[in-house]
C-alpha cells in the first residue's frame, strides 16, 4: 500500500494530465497550487463562486492519489464534538448495565468503600478508551494510516470558535483529548478548505494556507470541460452552449450559472436530441441553467440575440 506522500509529482504538467485522465480539467494555476500543496504539505484554501468545482477538486485529488477522502461539512454551530470526537454515552451506559454482575465479582472480598474504590482503580480506565470513542471527520483524518485528503467544506459557515480550533489542528496536525492524551497524525492529511466568502476568514487561518481562487472558466476551458464530462455532445452544440452560457454570465443575474449548471444543461439538451440551439428548446430548458424566476424573466429579451450569436460563433447557418 502506498502512502499519501510516497509518490511525488514530478511536475505541474504531470498533475494536469492526471487530473485530465480523471475527467477534471483544470487551469495551470490550480495544478500549480496542488503541486505546491502536495510537495510542501500545506493546506489549500479554495475560494470561488458556487458550482465551479471546488469540492470536486478535493475529490479528484483524492482519486488520483488513491487515498480516502474525509469530508467535514461546516455549518453554524458546528463544534468539537461534531468535528473531532464524541464519547458513545449510550454504549457506556449499556456496558455498565451488562457488566453489573462482573463488577460484583470484581469487588468480592472487599470490605468498606475505600477498599472497593482501590480495587476498581487498580483496573484500567476502560470506559474512556478508544472503543467508546465515536470518531468524527477530523479525528478520522488524523488516524488514517496511509494519509488522506481532508476536505473541510464551506469553512466560512462555521463560527469563530471553530475557526480558532481549526488553527491548532492545521498547524500541528494534532489534537488533545483530555481523557486519552494528545493524538498526532502519523501522516499529515492533504487539506482543502473551501469557502464561498460568506464571511471573511481570519488572517491567521489564511496565512497557514495557500490561497486559490477558482473563477468561472473562460470559453476555451469550459468547452474542454464540457467535452470531457459530456463526451457524446455534438461539437457544434457544444460550442453553441458554451457561447450562450458565457453571454449569460455577463448579465446582471441573481444566480449566475456555473460549470455544474452548464453540464446539466448540456446533458438535458443531449437527452432531448437537440442538434443545435433553437429558441423553443432554449426557452423550455432555461430552468436548468437559471435557478430564479426573475432571472428567467430577465433573460427573455436576450435569448434570441444570444442564440444568433452562438450560431454565428459555432459556424453553423
Amino acid at each position: 500500500m502506498k502512502t499519501l506522500y510516497q509518490d511525488k509529482f514530478q511536475s505541474v504538467e504531470e498533475i494536469k494530465n492526471r487530473f485530465e485522465e480523471a475527467k477534471y480539467i483544470c487551469s495551470e494555476q490550480i495544478a500549480t497550487c496542488v503541486y505546491i500543496a502536495h510537495n510542501l504539505q500545506k493546506p489549500v484554501m479554495v475560494e470561488g463562486p458556487a458550482g465551479v468545482g471546488k469540492t470536486e477538486l478535493a475529490k479528484t485529488t483524492a482519486e488520483i492519489l488513491d487515498v480516502p477522502l474525509v469530508r467535514l461539512q461546516c455549518y453554524e454551530g458546528l463544534d468539537e464534538s461534531k468535528a473531532l470526537y464524541e464519547w458513545k454515552y449510550a454504549k457506556q451506559l449499556l456496558y455498565t448495565q451488562l457488566l453489573k454482575d462482573k463488577l460484583g465479582d470484581l469487588l468480592e472480598g472487599a470490605t468498606g468503600l475505600r477498599e472497593s474504590m482501590d480495587k476498581i482503580h487498580s483496573h484500567e480506565d476502560l470506559f474512556f478508551s478508544e472503543s467508546f470513542l465515536e470518531p468524527r471527520p477530523l479525528f478520522q483524518a488524523l488516524h488514517e494510516e496511509l494519509g488522506c485528503v481532508l476536505l473541510i467544506d464551506e469553512v466560512d459557515k462555521s463560527d469563530h470558535e471553530f475557526e480558532a480550533f481549526l488553527l491548532e489542528v492545521l498547524s500541528e496536525f494534532q489534537v488533545s483529548i483530555p481523557e486519552l492524551g494528545t493524538i498526532k497524525a502519523t501522516i499529515k492529511p492533504l487539506v482543502f478548505l473551501t469557502s464561498n466568502n460568506s464571511r471573511e476568514m481570519s488572517d491567521a487561518l489564511k496565512r497557514r494556507c495557500l490561497h486559490l481562487y477558482v473563477p468561472y472558466p473562460d470559453e476555451k476551458l469550459e468547452s474542454k470541460i464540457l467535452s470531457s464530462r459530456v463526451p457524446d455532445l455534438p461539437e457544434i452544440l457544444r460550442k453553441e452552449i458554451v457561447s450562450f452560457v458565457q453571454d449569460v454570465r455577463a448579465l446582471d443575474l441573481k444566480k449566475v450559472p456555473s460549470i455544474s449548471e452548464t453540464i446539466d444543461w448540456a446533458k438535458t439538451l443531449l437527452l432531448l436530441h437537440s442538434e443545435q440551439l433553437d429558441p423553443a428548446m432554449v426557452k423550455q430548458t432555461l430552468n436548468v441553467l437559471l435557478k430564479f424566476e426573475t432571472d428567467i424573466e430577465g433573460m427573455r429579451d436576450h435569448t434570441m440575440s444570444f442564440i444568433n450569436k452562438a450560431h454565428k460563433r459555432s459556424g453553423a447557418q
Binding site: E28, Q29, C33, L40, V44, Y89, H211
Partner: protein, 459 residues
C-alpha cells in the same frame, strides 16, 4: 537569487499586500520547489502563496508582470541606425560601429560600442543595487538616482574617453561621436529604468503620505478629487472599529449548571447525568442610531459625514441612519441599494442644502423613533446645531438623554463658536453624554473609538 526574491517581496509589500516573514520563508521554499524555468508556473506559485484574497491575487500578478519585465536596452540595435535615415548624415560614416578604431579598455565604452544589451542590463542592475534604488519613494529622487547609477557604471571614465577620442578629430566623425551618442542613449535607458522602479517601489509611499495628510486635514478643506482616497480611509477606519466592537460575545458561565436543560437532555439516559449543560450569557451587539445634518451650513462636511455613515452602515448590522435638515429622513434603504457615491449624491440632491431646523427634527425623532430607543441604544448626532433662531426643543433632548444609553454630539465647529450667532449647542450640551468638536478624520476616529468602547461595555 535570494536578493531578487526579497526585492520582489518589497515591491509586493509596497503595492499594499501584507507579507509576513513566515510568508516570505514559505514562498521562498515554494519557489525553490517550482523553479524558475516556467514563467507562468512561477507566477501561479507566487499568486497562491503570497496572496490571501482575490484582490491581492490581482495585485501580486500585476507586480509580477512589472517586476519580471526585462526590456532595458532592447532597442540598442537601433542605436546609430537613426542617423542613417536622416538626410543630413552620411550613410557610410555613421554605422557600422567603428569598433576597430576604439583602442581603449574602458569596459562601459566597450559594452556600448559592442551593443551588448545583456551585460549593460546586468551592470545597470548591479549599480542600482549598490546605490539602493529599492529605497526610492518619491519622484523628485529620480534624477539623483539616475545620476548615481550612471556614476557607478563608470560615467566619468566614459566621459574621459569621449574627450580623449574627440581630440584631433573632426566633429561628426569616428569613435568620439559614436560614444557620445551611446552615452545619451545610456542616460535615457537608465532614466527609464529608474522610472519603472519608482512606479513599483514608490507606489504606496506617495499614497501613504497623502493619506497621512488627509487624516489630519480639516474635512472642509479636503478637495473633491481626494474623495475616493477619503472613502478608502474612512472604510478602513469603519471596518477596524466595527470588527473590534461589533462581535457578538457569548460568554459561558462555567460553574453555573443549567439544571432544567441538563435534566431534559439526560432523560434518555434514565436520568443519569451524562451530559451537562451550563448557563450561558449573551452580550448583544450595540445598537447605534446616527443622525446626520446635511443642511447648507455644514455643506462642506456633509459629504464626508455621510461617507462615514455609509461606511459604518456597510460594516455594522444594527445601525439606523437618518439625515435631516428640517425633517428626519430614514436613509437606510438608499444606503443599502446604491453604491457610495451615488447614494451620497442622491441624498444631497434630494434632501440637502436647506436651512436646518433642529427643533422639528427632534420632534420628528420623538414621534418616529423614541419607542425604539432604549437603554442599549447609542444615539450619534452629527451637526453644527445652527438652528436659524428657531425653537430648539431641548426638552426632547432631555428625554433622549434619559432613555438612550448614550447621546453623543459631534460638532464640526470649535467649542468657542458654540455660543455665538444662532448656535444652540450650549442648550443641547447638558443633555449629551459627550459633545465634542470633530472636523478631521483623526477626531472622528478617536471619538468613535471611545463611543464604541462604551457601547459594547468593554470598558
Amino acid at each position: 537569487m535570494q536578493q531578487t526574491l526579497e526585492d520582489f517581496y518589497k515591491v509586493v509589500r509596497a503595492a499594499g499586500v501584507n507579507i509576513s516573514p513566515s510568508d516570505s520563508i514559505e514562498t521562498s521554499r515554494t519557489v525553490t520547489l517550482v523553479g524558475y524555468r516556467d514563467r507562468s508556473i512561477l507566477k501561479s506559485a507566487f499568486e497562491v502563496s503570497l496572496a490571501k484574497s482575490l484582490p491581492e491575487q490581482d495585485i501580486v500578478a500585476e507586480c509580477f508582470d512589472r517586476f519580471f519585465y526585462f526590456n532595458a536596452f532592447d532597442t540598442i540595435e537601433q542605436l546609430g541606425h537613426e542617423q542613417k535615415n536622416s538626410p543630413s548624415a552620411n550613410a557610410d560614416e555613421a554605422v557600422p560601429v567603428p569598433k576597430d578604431e576604439y583602442k581603449g579598455d574602458q569596459p562601459l565604452a566597450k559594452m556600448l560600442l559592442d551593443r551588448d544589451a545583456a551585460s549593460l542590463s546586468t551592470e545597470m542592475k548591479k549599480a542600482a543595487r549598490e546605490v539602493g534604488l529599492t529605497d526610492i519613494w518619491f519622484f523628485t529622487q529620480k534624477s539623483l538616482y539616475s545620476q548615481q547609477i550612471m556614476q557607478k557604471m563608470g560615467l566619468r571614465d566614459l566621459q574621459n574617453e569621449i574627450a580623449e577620442a574627440g581630440k584631433g578629430e573632426c566633429p561628426g566623425d569616428g569613435v568620439g561621436d559614436a560614444l557620445r551618442e551611446a552615452k545619451d542613449y545610456l542616460a535615457e535607458q537608465v532614466k527609464d529604468f529608474v522610472e519603472q522602479q519608482l512606479s513599483m517601489y514608490g507606489k504606496n509611499a506617495a499614497r501613504n503620505l497623502r493619506e497621512e495628510h488627509l487624516q489630519s486635514a480639516k474635512l472642509s478643506n479636503v478637495e473633491q478629487r481626494d474623495f475616493h482616497i477619503m472613502h478608502h480611509l474612512v472604510l478602513k477606519m469603519a471596518k477596524r472599529l466595527s470588527t473590534q466592537y461589533s462581535k457578538k460575545k457569548k460568554r459561558e458561565n462555567r460553574g453555573q449548571l443549567d439544571f432544567r436543560k441538563t435534566l431534559r437532555h439526560n432523560a434518555a439516559y434514565d436520568g443519569v447525568l451524562f451530559e451537562t449543560y451550563w448557563k450561558t450569557k449573551f452580550i448583544d451587539k450595540p445598537r447605534l442610531m446616527v443622525m446626520c445634518d446635511i443642511s447648507g451650513s455644514v455643506q462642506a462636511y456633509a459629504r464626508f459625514l455621510l461617507l462615514f455613515v455609509y461606511s459604518l452602515n456597510d460594516v455594522m448590522t444594527r445601525i439606523d441612519s437618518y439625515v435631516f435638515t428640517g425633517n428626519l429622513i430614514d436613509v437606510n434603504d438608499v444606503f443599502d441599494d446604491l453604491p457610495v457615491e451615488q447614494a451620497i449624491d442622491y441624498i444631497m440632491d434630494k434632501h440637502g442644502l436647506g436651512g436646518s431646523d433642529y427643533g422639528t427634527t427632534l420632534l420628528d425623532l420623538e414621534d418616529q423613533c423614541m419607542d425604539d430607543i432604549d437603554n442599549k441604544t447609542t444615539v450619534l448626532i452629527l451637526g453644527d446645531a445652527r438652528n436659524n433662531f428657531l425653537a430648539p426643543r431641548s426638552e426632547v433632548m432631555q428625554l433622549l438623554h434619559q432613555r438612550a444609553k448614550r447621546v453623543i454630539w459631534l460638532n464640526p465647529e470649535p467649542e468657542n463658536f458654540w455660543k455665538t450667532g444662532d448656535s444652540v449647542m450650549y442648550k443641547y450640551r447638558p443633555y449629551c453624554h459627550l459633545a465634542n468638536t470633530c472636523n478631521t478624520l483623526e477626531h472622528l476616529e478617536r471619538m468613535l473609538d471611545s463611543l464604541l468602547k462604551s457601547a459594547t461595555g468593554t470598558v
